[in-house]
Amino acid sequence: MLQHRATRLKKAALIGLASALALSVAACASERGQGGEGQVRGGTLTFGSAGDPKMFDATFATDGETFRPVRQMFDTLITYKQGSADLAPALATKWEPVDDGKGWKFTLREGVKFHDGTDFNADAVCFNFDRWYNMKGAAAQSQMIYYADVFGGFKNNTSEDFGEPLYAGCEKDGDYTVTIKLKRPSGAFPAAFGLTSLSIGSPTAMKKYNADEVKQSGEAFTYSEYATEHPTGTGPFKLESYDKSNGTVTMVRNEDYWGEKAYLDKLIFKTIPEEQARKDELRAGTIDGYDLPSPADYETLEKEGHQVMVRPVFNILYLGINQKNNPKLRDLKVREALEMAINKEQLAKTRLPKGAIPRDQFVPKDLPGYTEDVVKREYNPDEAKKVLNGLKVKFHIPTEVTRPYMPDPKTIAKSIISDLKAVGVEVQEVSKPWNGGYLDDVNVNGVHDLHLLGWTGDYGDAGNFIGTFFGRKKAEFGFTNDKIFDALAKADREPDPDKRGELYEQAAVEISKYVPAIPLTSSPPAIVVSKDVQGLVPSPLTDERFVTVSKKQSD
């Protein structure tokens, strides 16, 4: 998946959401969600979020805190089985490729209604797909990161960042059969139809509340009434209110939901930006759960009877190397020595949650493209010192941020710097707020030598990892290596899944020989809920659905 710069930039900031291939790791988790015995109907569940959702129109959503409420209110054509990345039917009961992959034919579920009473049918599906393709305005298009990523571009592109659009029209055959036509096949489908960003909304409501209106002033975006007050989907919950002064999103059960109805009467997402405060509120019983507890708290929380649910690992943390400014870093020996200088084992043990593992390559295990053939470099400070002694580097570190792969960047950086200092490297640190200069420095301007960054997969595809990172020349890494670029491009074009995997393996080996960046660790992000909460299934894609969740009534 070759992404243009803006996309990559933005996505680095996201918690991933979608994937295609089966992840065997998820098997045990999904069993828990199936049951439902002993689960009670009724009650209110309050979940602590780390940030306010920007609005509720999935089309323009770019961050995890916006996706979470949206997922409870909207459905997609295809979804993922709870707790895994396997595909499962949602608004479409059946799907198949037509015309050699230049189209996808969906059989739609009948009898589904949007929250405003509008019928869900082929017209509604076409309305949504046409809306995305025809979206006007630079502001609106710039916010459609995921759509632009999957579909390449729009009817009228407003930026050079977008490419030729893939979409070739929506064709209906009766009320419940629809074909999405494409200009050329793409490996992203059908999995990408499950992206939350491609949620199907009510045409009536979108027209009534001017859904396409997005205004931009400076860095600030202002959305339509549809997106802020009247999001209308088919999902198990409906929006009741969004109280911005208290930071609470209140949703109620959709009594007309097409699937198994939600257990909860009410679902509230309450924004509590301080990690410490989320923990305190869970203990005080004023919230029933929160996302990404600090690894330091796992044990304490469990001891107190809370359920710390660890998600399957689907991310990578790496130490980036920028070859542009520092000629020494263009020396392969130096990059190899850097990898040997870092004690990944200890990093995983002292800085990351239980279950974190040191990594020797960027593609997650279990994904085609992962291979034992990569060049492995063990921790060897003595060897490293011979090469690195006296090296001077500028190390950029993000602050004010927590990511699933990097709970506390500052302390991770501390470990790495200690390791580098131990082998005689002189490190100049540059710490900047994630959203206040760091991403800018690293991804756009490339003024650094080393930096700390990572990725949570949103496709179960090696290309979503290494293709995104090393597919072309980027300010982030500042190198040109046609061998790697070509290998990745070739893999991306290959439609056959097996061959594709092999090609990605070859690319991975090439990458490990060149060391454009150093893979560090993968760590499982957790989600914690109180002991009264039942039926929550942690997802490797951080795609948790509250429809199966219930709460034991304490009184």
Binding site: T46, S245, A284, T286, N435
Partner: protein, 334 residues
């Protein structure tokens, strides 16, 4: 009286003028210039040029300042990059929380500060006096955020007596009328909502009250000591007035004037001083907005809040002066 008020108002104008110049200069001095500060990670030379044009940053500086002043006066502080709402809307949404917290803190500081200060002065040199003086000094030396953190840890985490953060439990489902959580419950008859809001208010109010409490204790103590030494008190005593009468009629009343001033001025400081407390207790007021604005470098929001903090302080100062002039006519003459 009117002349005094007018004069005082006129005096405030140059102050506000310089203030606006400073804030304008601040915004211009942001790293990389205002445009790149606002664009953040999307800053490309082309976008910066566009935004510079759009924001009128290519105009001559004096013209820019005039435009800036025009925007400020009409309440146009720009759009928050975090929420996408206008900064004015945000301030309107969050200021009741800060007012509520500030007044609760002030109430605590006054209700405990004046009696403690008075008693310390009356029993000057006693163990009680020393204890009070020392504890106010220590109180000021404790970092506010750590104090808040400790209060929370002891009373919420360990003892489970009070809620750890926020303004009200979500399941209270209170009707919002004024935006003041404690008042709304009384207005709508939802007393449980008020009680819940008060429980939430307790810890942050105590944390925020420490510094004004210490200041009020010390001012009260000092001014009571001053008054006790004044001639009219001695005269009253020598005239044989009972100690009780002297104390209430002469000492307290005369001593309270400077205390009243201090209270007024502390109000102005509290509104801004709430930054740390609000962050610790996730109290969604203006300080919370500011702390969040710092973390994510939301410059339009920061600009408005800095300006607001200073204007509030100037206005409170003005009000204190005027009310003082009403209480004590001597001020007007000079």
């Amino acid at each position: 009286m009117l002349r005094f008020i007018v004069r005082r108002l006129l005096q405030a104008i140059p102050t506000l003028f310089i203030l606006s110049l400073l804030v304008f200069a601040w915004f211009r001095a942001l790293p990389g210039g205002p445009a790149s500060a606002m664009l953040g990670e999307r800053a490309t030379p082309q976008r910066i040029a566009e935004l510079n044009e759009q924001m009128g940053l290519n105009d001559p500086i004096p013209l820019q300042y005039v435009n800036f002043l025009g925007r400020m006066l009409t309440g146009d502080f720009g759009t928050s990059t975090i929420t996408g709402d206008s900064v004015l809307t945000e301030i309107g949404r969050h200021f009741p929380a800060t007012i509520e917290l500030a007044f609760a803190a002030l109430f605590l500081a006054v209700a405990f500060g004046i009696p403690f200060g008075y008693l310390a002065a009356r029993y000057r040199g006693s163990l009680f006096d020393t204890g009070i003086v020392v504890s106010t000094l220590v109180g000021v030396a404790v970092p506010v955020f750590f104090l808040g953190f400790l209060l929370k840890y002891v009373f919420s985490t360990q003892l489970s007596l009070l809620p750890p953060s926020g303004r009200q439990d979500v399941d209270i489902d209170a009707t919002s009328v004024t935006g003041f959580a404690t008042l709304d419950g009384l207005l709508t008859g939802e007393f449980d909502a008020t009680i819940n809001a008060l429980q939430h208010l307790a810890l942050p109010a105590i944390a925020l009250a420490t510094i004004p409490f210490a200041v009020i204790v010390r001012i009260t103590r000092a001014s009571v000591l001053d008054v006790l030494n004044e001639d009219f008190v001695r005269t009253a005593e020598s005239k044989g007035l009972t100690a009780q009468v002297v104390r209430t009629r002469h000492v307290l009343r005369n001593a309270l004037l400077p205390v009243a001033t201090t209270i007024g001025l502390q109000t102005g400081l509290l509104l801004a001083g709430a930054v740390l407390t609000e962050k610790v207790f996730v109290w969604r007021g203006l300080g919370f907005l500011l702390a969040q604005g710092i973390e994510q470098r939301d410059y339009p929001r920061l600009q408005a809040l800095i300006l607001l903090a200073a204007v509030v302080y100037v206005v409170v100062n003005l009000l204190v002066d005027i009310s003082y002039a009403i209480i004590d006519p001597r001020v007007r003459v000079s």
